[in-house]
Amino acid sequence: MTVWPKWDAAVARDLVVPHSNIPGGLLPALHGMQEHFGCVAQGAIDLAADVFNLSRAEVYGVVNFYDDFRKTPPEMPVLKICMAEACQAVGAEGLKRHAVDLAGGRMEIEDVFCLGNCACGPSVMAGSSVYGRVSPERLDTLVGLLEGGGE
């Protein structure tokens, strides 16, 4: 499980400034901060507003619009389960129930909609890895791996 660094305005500024002079650089700047700190919290919003010369409300509006941006870093391993149609057709709903029963309190279980792995479903994602043909048994193994710090 990744340990996310504490907020550090100087580090964040270095992450944001390089994007400030490219047109439309706000999203890459937010991604940069989230990759480093695990989230885009209030300090990050204030900083981006300052650097991009926007109001805080504007930056907040952007951060809020996109599902990827988190307000707090994950405290547990994150498991994203594809709930889109091709995965539904091969049992995504049952897989999700199984995941919640198995690891609900120990992992953040999120819905995602299509991982582009629709011929090998059900599919899940952890970190930057996609897993396909995820049977309940395979999910058990995967959860064990994630909890052991395998991701």
Binding site: I22, P23, G24, G25, L26, L27, P28, L30, H31, F52, G61, V62, F65, Y66, D67, D68, F69, A84, E85, A86, C87, Q88, A89, V90, V112, F113, C114, L115, G116, N117, C118, A119, C120, G121, S123, M125, S128, S129, V130, Y131, G132, R133
Partner: protein, 507 residues
């Protein structure tokens, strides 16, 4: 390494998702023990997702798959390095019916060489389109595009030549091209496969587009769910920069989305590229007149742009020789869901869905009867099994109220409850609506509520009438196709599977 055995293994998300890296690791370990060394070539995925994890061995590229780590010892016992017999032996893939039945034009190079090696790309005919585009002038390239009748593969099927010409003729100090790589439709992965497996082909298409319309800057807007495509595209862009074909005269920036489906809609994408909320813009103005930062902008899907090199190199007429009616050329169909042999099937328009689902797909994975398919993603339609004789064709599908969309075909067996699918269509729209127009934002939420009542068996007939009204309002009043087409799968489910809405499914 003179006697090393060539071993071709895909560097591709689907192959990885089912363990190709682990299989490769094991092959190298056992090879070491047994004194056999391999020359590993990381290719694009050939699209046989049903056969992954898959490896191809030796000069004859004999394929084995699907493999498990526990198969590896047995492969060596069977002397697979010399093409020996084994339960997983598929033979040479070029002779395999699943590939032989396809017409791979856009995916012609897919899986043949190392995806990020520019020399391999050139030796397989890469940059042939670019070179011809440089010999011809922009107008002659547009003539080829006209002759090809290529229509946009992102969903709307708009003729590419018309859009290109509009941007070319627009007067401005600056123009942009944007590649739509947001690939949000459930059941689609052709963009991903192409970007991971033949990234230079997309870059070549964008180079040609930029030259024709006169753009000095391009963007690829890639969804964040595709980290491997991001890695491979970054490597490929850097290789082309090193080569000098990308540079100050024209360069491409890779931008990553942030988990929003509606950002695949072109004007929402432009807002997102400008660093804003991904809210849909009212049209007009068209992006071709006033797009990114208010400048004329060419927006095309990955597959549209990746079709360009073939068309320019071989000629628009050669492309148009394939196809059916007004749908010319090929479509890289993505077969997924509950299907035995899913993957990428590039075929000329005109093939029937039945051929795709049964001849290529082999029917359902579960072995149960096919009940329905979804074509064209969340904004496409559902078709019952008995409608599968419809040919793959923009107009033929439009007649059924559906669309080709991005070419995703999702198979469902007879356990699917179509009332729940209708509920899901509204639910997805409610989650993903950009919120700018009321019919989409509120209508979708109402749709979920009413579907819940229908599923619970409350005043079913009145509530079905409500759903029909709601669908009409969303269709007529929404700003973009998100709200405008979400009703389509709902109405299709109602029309063809009425029993599911009358408590018939469970009972």
């Amino acid at each position: 390494m003179t006697n090393a055995v060539p071993l071709y293994v895909a560097r591709e998300t689907a192959a990885r998702s089912v363990g190709v890296e682990e299989v490769l690791q094991r092959i190298l370990e056992v090879g070491k023990e047994r004194g056999i060394s391999f020359d590993v070539i990381r290719t694009g995925g050939r699209g046989l997702h049903w056969a992954e994890p898959l490896v191809e061995v030796g000069a004859a590229r004999i394929a084995y798959g699907p493999l498990e780590v526990t198969d590896v010892e047995g492969l060596f016992d069977a002397e697979f390095a010399r093409g020996g017999d084994h339960a997983t032996r598929l033979g040479s893939l070029n002779d395999h019916a699943w590939l032989k039945g396809q017409t791979r034009l856009v995916f012609e190079r897919m899986g043949l060489g190392c995806a990020t090696d520019l020399e391999a790309f050139r030796s397989l005919g890469g940059f042939g389109g670019w070179e011809r585009a440089c010999d011809l002038g922009p107008d002659e390239v547009l003539d080829e595009l006209d002759a090809s009748n290529l229509r946009g593969r992102g969903g709307a099927g708009f003729p590419a030549a018309i859009k290109w010409r509009t941007v070319k003729e627009a007067q401005a100090d600056e123009k942009f091209i944007v590649c739509n790589a947001d690939e949000g439709d459930a059941g689609t992965f052709s963009d991903r496969l192409l970007m991971e497996g033949d990234p230079f082909c997309l870059i070549e298409g964008m180079m040609i587009a930029a030259r024709v319309v006169g753009a000095a800057r391009g963007y690829i807007y890639l969804r964040s769910e595709y980290p491997l495509a991001k890695e491979i595209l970054s490597e490929a862009l850097e290789a082309v920069r090193q080569d000098g074909l990308l540079g100050p005269h024209f360069d491409i920036e890779l931008r990553i989305g942030a988990g929003s489906y509606v950002c695949g809609e072109e004007t929402a994408m432009l807002e997102s590229l400008e660093g804003k909320r991904g809210e849909v813009r009212a049209k007009p103005p068209l992006p071709a007149h006033a797009g990114l930062f208010g400048k004329p902008t060419l927006v095309n899907n990955v597959i549209t742009l990746a079709s360009i090199p073939w068309i320019v190199a071989r000629g628009g007429k050669a492309w148009a020789e394939f196809g059916h009616g007004r749908s010319r050329g090929t479509l890289p169909v993505q077969l997924g869901g509950n299907v035995k042999r899913g993957g990428l099937v590039e075929v000329p328009f005109g093939m029937t869905l039945r051929e795709l689902v049964y001849d290529f797909g082999g029917g359902t994975l579960s072995g149960r009867p096919v009940r329905a398919i979804q074509i064209g993603g969340p904004l496409g339609t559902f078709l019952p099994e008995n409608a599968l004789d419809v040919p793959l064709d923009y107009e033929a599908l439009a007649e059924l109220g559906g669309s080709v969309g991005h070419g995703g075909v999702i198979v469902f067996d007879d356990t699917v409850d179509m009332a729940r699918q209708a509920r899901f269509a509204f639910d997805f729209c409610a989650r993903e609506s950009c919120g700018k127009c009321t019919p989409c934002r509120i209508g979708s939420v109402r749709g979920v509520e009413v579907m819940d009542k229908i599923i619970a068996g409350d005043d079913v007939n009145e509530n079905i009438a409500l759903i029909e009204d709601l669908c009409e309002t969303m269709k007529e009043g929404s700003l973009c196709a998100m709200g405008g087409l979400t009703p389509q799968p709902v109405l299709a489910a109602l029309k063809d599977f009425p029993k599911d809405f009358h408590g018939g499914f469970g009972s």
